[in-house]
Symmetry: C2
Subunit: 119 residues, 2 copies
DNA sequence: GTATTAAGACTACAGCAGTAATCTAACTTT
DNA sequence: AAAGTTAGATTACTGCTGTAGTCTTAATAC
């Protein structure tokens, strides 16, 4: 039953890097990222420990890392959680709120309609 | 600068009750709620302590409680956080994902368009 | 071959969240 | 008045999160 893997907020930036580019070393992950290097190492280790990231040994001293949890899985899980928590699971409530509060225009929605048509 | 009040997930059910009906006593809040009563008391107290709920003394032994943080404020804050965290702040990404994954139909969107028109 | 670098492991620690038991004192019931 | 009830306060404890320092050891540089 694929026990739920939770990705903490602070771990997310690392996942985002791995969703962009897979099978890379830790220096490659951290390169360009902000934050304390030791902290980043801890977060990467935690992701590996909880199974969100796979570490493949290169040599006795280093690994290549890959995302196990995909971006889609993550987004799906977050979306469902958010929908349930904030809007009691009502898609309609949610959509209405977004459209109202995030200033989504008629045009935006029409563009969206077109995109739907195309499938 | 109105320091951010964070409402934890477990505290949310209590807020939801208070958003429905304000200025009520704790037994009125807890009545109908599930969960251990002692836990609920703790959560209510934490909400008061952090200023999300106001307690007005009735007598030396009890209070009436009211939401200080409104549902709109809460939803707004959660929505912004979610949008930023999961979709890097892109409304378009988010909308597209919702429409695709939550099976939102052409009809739903058209209904939404109508609602927007009416304002 | 010795010194340096650095990837990963280990340790640490405070704060928050979830959960809940116990204590205290005031109000209510008999 | 004594006993029971109970709102709220206090205490507790675990796990997760955010953050980061230190240790170990293999690879590398000189």
């Amino acid at each position: 039953m694929d026990k739920k893997i939770n990705i903490a907020d602070s771990e997310l930036p690392i996942m985002k890097v791995l969703w962009e580019k897979d099978n890379i070393t830790s220096p490659e992950i951290f390169d360009g990222m902000s934050g304390n290097i030791s902290t980043l190492k801890t977060l990467l280790k935690r992701l590996v420990d909880k199974g969100a990231v796979k570490a493949t040994e290169i040599n006795s001293r280093s690994y290549r890392y890959s995302a196990v949890v995909s971006e889609d899985e993550y987004i799906c899980s977050e979306r469902k959680g958010f929908l349930q928590k904030v809007f009691d699971g009502s898609k309609e409530k949610m959509l209405l709120n977004f459209v109202k509060e995030e200033n989504i225009t008629k045009d935006d929605l029409e563009k969206l309609l077109e995109m739907i048509e195309e499938e």
